[in-house]
């Protein structure tokens, strides 16, 4: 306990505190602007940390990480364009809420959910980090393959009107995910001998294109729905304590899912968000109201993607294994400082580790304060005339797609997928299955094939491991439940 107080005191010193404010602020901004991502923000700030004291540098980076997981919800809710991959599902219910004039409430719920999810993962980080890191090592290739297969089955959950259209969209995504260097044998696939295609269809330009371009086109054509007038008084914007209390179940299960996903390298915040959204939907007494502006649909992904931050820091600090791209950069920053994360870091630099926990707590606190203070400002975005708003979004999208890897190929990829997204929307094909398949397809392929190499071609490996068997059973049960629901809907078409 003393260590924890010491850590908090260290992180509260003037310099670390100032940089934590800066970090949280930049994190929110980077996440909120489509095309700029949290990992990009961290990478840009990394060189500056080389000259800072270790506590200060971690305050800055942790601030960006935590702020980033909160800020993504802003553009998802207000513009229907996710600011970063972690917030892709937040738009499903967040944007309909904004259209009903409840943007402030949606944002408030998103921020509080982020705060509580992050707090939950911080508690895990402080109390049982080494045990959780050991637990995560049980997830080998077959377990990950089964988990991701479960995620792929959830594509069915995003079918609004037609199941076949959702499946077509999903299969299209899976096909795109096979383009580029094959993850096992490093053979270029479908590259037509163009070197640039070897990197494959990277997820971020696709995400920016699919969401932003259709919005820009309909905005420019003047077909954007005009929003009802709403009050911008802070009291009217904030969710009531009663609203938040009603969400406690969603918050608890999403925080747990987020932290667990964070522990597993190679999965990521988008997976955490999707899994918890789906769990919330399945456990809800009225699953059909999801996607039309339900607060649980905002709360679940936001709690999960923030909880992912603490989860991802656990293997990074205790074993020196980064759980996601952001913690990978943090690992580099710590090594430069001469602090090698690993089992010995807690013994040799225990005080420093607790100062990271302190910075984490302060970052969570600062982020929610900054976000809530900014809420009045954010909602003003909805009042910007479309003639100004959409061209500026377009500019950010192009810059963002280019800046990811300094590549024009990604800009064309973004535009191409944007057109695809526009026509899919026009013909009523859901884009979420396509996105999910592009995120999960490569992870599934890699782990499934690796399992078969490990077992020398014996598929039994997926059924012998208990964790993997549980996921496969869940996937099967889910598909059966979807089938039963669909067939019963057939009989009563009026409820569909």
């Amino acid at each position: 306990m003393n260590l924890l107080v010491d850590g908090l005191v260290q992180a509260l010193a003037l310099k670390p505190l100032l940089f934590a404010v800066l970090g949280s602020f930049l994190g929110i901004i980077f996440a909120a602007i489509p095309g700029l991502t949290v990992s990009m923000g961290i990478i840009l700030l990394l060189p500056f940390t080389f000259h800072m004291a270790s506590v200060t540098s971690m305050s800055l980076l942790v601030g960006v990480f935590v702020g980033g997981m909160t800020g993504g919800s802003i553009s998802s809710i207000l513009l229907n364009i996710p600011g970063n991959p972690a917030a892709i599902v937040t738009s499903l219910d967040g944007h309909p809420l904004a259209r009903k004039g409840r943007a402030g409430v949606a944002l408030g719920v998103a921020f509080f959910s982020s705060f509580l999810g992050g707090l939950f993962s911080l508690v895990c980080l402080v109390t049982i980090a080494p045990q959780l890191a050991e637990f995560a090592l049980n997830f080998g290739a077959p377990e990950l393959a089964a988990l991701v297969l479960l995620g792929l089955c959830l594509i069915c959950g995003f079918a609004q009107t037609s199941m076949s259209k959702a499946l077509i969209s999903g299969v299209l995504g899976l096909s795109f995910s096979t383009v580029g260097m094959d993850p096992i044998d490093s053979i270029p696939r479908f590259t037509f001998s163009v070197v640039q295609i070897q990197q494959g269809v990277s997820f971020l330009p696709v995400m920016i294109g699919l969401f932003a371009v259709p919005e820009i086109i309909s905005g420019m054509r003047g077909s954007a729905v005009s929003l009802p007038d709403f009050s911008t008084r802070l009291r009217d914007l904030l969710p009531s304590p009663g609203t938040l209390a009603g969400l406690w179940k969603t918050l608890a299960q999403s925080s747990l899912i987020g932290t667990t996903i964070g522990l597993l390298p190679g999965t990521g915040s988008a997976v955490a968000a999707v899994l918890s959204y789906n769990t919330a939907q399945r456990r809800s007494p009225e699953p059909e109201s999801f996607g039309k502006g339900k607060l649980e649909g905002v709360s679940a992904p936001e709690a999960a993607n923030s909880a992912m931050t603490g989860g991802a820091m656990i293997p990074m600090l205790t074993l020196g294994i980064p759980g996601d791209p952001v913690t990978a950069v943090m690992l580099g920053a710590l090594t430069i400082q001469g602090l090698a994360p690993g089992p010995l870091l807690f013994e040799s630099h225990g005080g420093f580790v607790f100062s990271i926990f302190g910075s984490f707590f302060i970052a969570l606190f600062l982020t929610i304060v900054i976000a809530l203070l900014g809420i009045r400002l954010f909602v003003q975005v909805l009042r910007v005339p479309p003639g100004l708003l959409f061209p500026s979004i377009a500019v950010f999208c192009v810059i963002g797609a280019f800046a990811l890897q300094n590549s024009f190929f990604d800009v064309f990829l973004m535009i191409g997928f944007g057109l695809l997204g526009y026509f899919m929307q026009k013909f009523d094909y859901p884009i979420m299955p396509l996105l999910l398949a592009i995120i999960l397809g490569p992870v599934f392929e890699k782990n499934a094939r690796m399992s078969l190499i490990l077992s020398d071609g014996d598929p039994g490996i997926f059924f012998r491991k208990p964790i993997s068997l549980v996921f496969l059973t869940l996937a099967l049960l889910y598909l059966i439940s979807v089938f039963l629901k669909r067939t019963s809907l057939f009989r009563k078409p009026d409820t569909a």
Partner: protein, 321 residues
């Protein structure tokens, strides 16, 4: 009088500079250095540190730009097609040789000019602490009687080629598992018997007694892990090491190459570079443009031999049939 002398001296300097050959004007603007891997990784840290130190002698900023993707091929192709004016340079690694020999790039290693080698990085064979193998000979002996699972970063990765070359030298066969980013968790979780990996990734775990570095493929013992023997000490020297250095588009002017050489040779002695090398577990070992091209050619021959023996160069053609 003193004033006049000063003016005279200044005028002389100005005259001397302006009559110097035009090429000596290089560099007149910042140089862009492409790093072919992501920011924050091993290539990025060493590249940026060296570039920062080289700027002092070079006189112009050397701006590092990350162009990652497809195992470095995206960035290498960018440098290949950039104008050969000395203002576009690349931070290369041995991956350029695996990329070209495996046919991921449509040209061979001679498509670039090579300026200088700056650093070596090791490749270690690592097992869990509870593994029965206490030394590299233990592991080799066991591998001769049963097929061990040995993981690496990927099928065509440098770590895999090192493990395969070791197997050829020592006379054993193993099942290769392309673990990608999950290489360390997979070893700790017990999915594989050993992994071939760059030492900095496991150094903290090694010091904590969670894993054991059996041996490392490196020119000499590294001060960060002085007790770990070299492959060569067991008589299984694979002959090639992960190296990093500087290359430029083919046909870059000699003056530019010499100016870069001078700046980077100075960077190799910079105390900051040496301190970072110590922390990050790489070894600074400078080689200039007089010897470096021949070194690259020799490494290419050794790496190509392993790639061909594994059949990695033919896969593309097989797919086409």
């Amino acid at each position: 009088m003193k004033k006049y002398l000063l003016v005279f001296a200044l005028a002389f300097v100005v005259a001397a500079v302006s009559v110097a050959p035009v090429s000596a004007a290089y560099p007149t603007k910042p140089v862009e250095m492409t790093i072919t891997f992501k920011a924050g990784g091993a290539a990025d840290i060493s590249g940026r540190t060296v570039a920062k130190a080289a700027e002092k002698v070079f006189g112009q900023p050397i701006v590092a730009v990350n162009r990652p993707g497809a195992g470095g091929t995206i960035g290498f192709a960018y440098v290949k097609t950039a104008p050969a004016d000395g203002y576009k340079i690349g931070w290369l690694s041995a991956s350029i040789l695996t990329g070209t020999t495996m046919g991921k790039l449509p040209y061979d290693y001679r498509a670039w000019d090579y300026v200088s080698r700056l650093v070596f990085e090791g490749t270690a064979i690592v097992v869990r602490a509870d593994s029965p193998y206490k030394s590299l000979p233990d592991l080799v002996k066991a591998a001769k009687s049963k097929t061990l699972k040995i993981g690496s970063a990927g099928a065509g990765s440098f770590t895999r080629l090192t493990a395969s070359a070791l197997a050829q030298k020592a006379g054993f066969k193993f099942r290769h598992i392309p673990l990608g980013k999950r290489r360390v968790p997979s070893l700790l979780g017990g999915e594989v018997d050993a992994i071939s990996v760059h030492p900095p990734e496991v150094l903290a775990l090694h010091k904590a007694g969670k894993v054991r570095m059996l041996a490392v493929s490196f020119p000499k013992r590294h001060p960060a892990y002085p007790k770990v023997p070299l492959f060569s000490e067991h008589g299984w020297d694979v002959g090639f090491y992960q190296f990093r250095g500087l290359h430029v588009p083919k046909g870059t002017p000699k003056e530019a190459v010499q100016a870069l050489h001078k700046a980077f040779a100075a960077a190799a002695k910079d105390p900051k570079v040496l301190a970072t090398a110590e922390k990050r577990g790489f070894l600074v070992s400078y080689m200039g443009p007089d010897k470096f091209p021949a070194f690259v050619a020799k490494q290419n021959a050794l790496i190509k031999a392993v790639v061909v023996s594994l059949g990695l160069d033919k896969k593309k053609k097989k797919m086409k049939k």
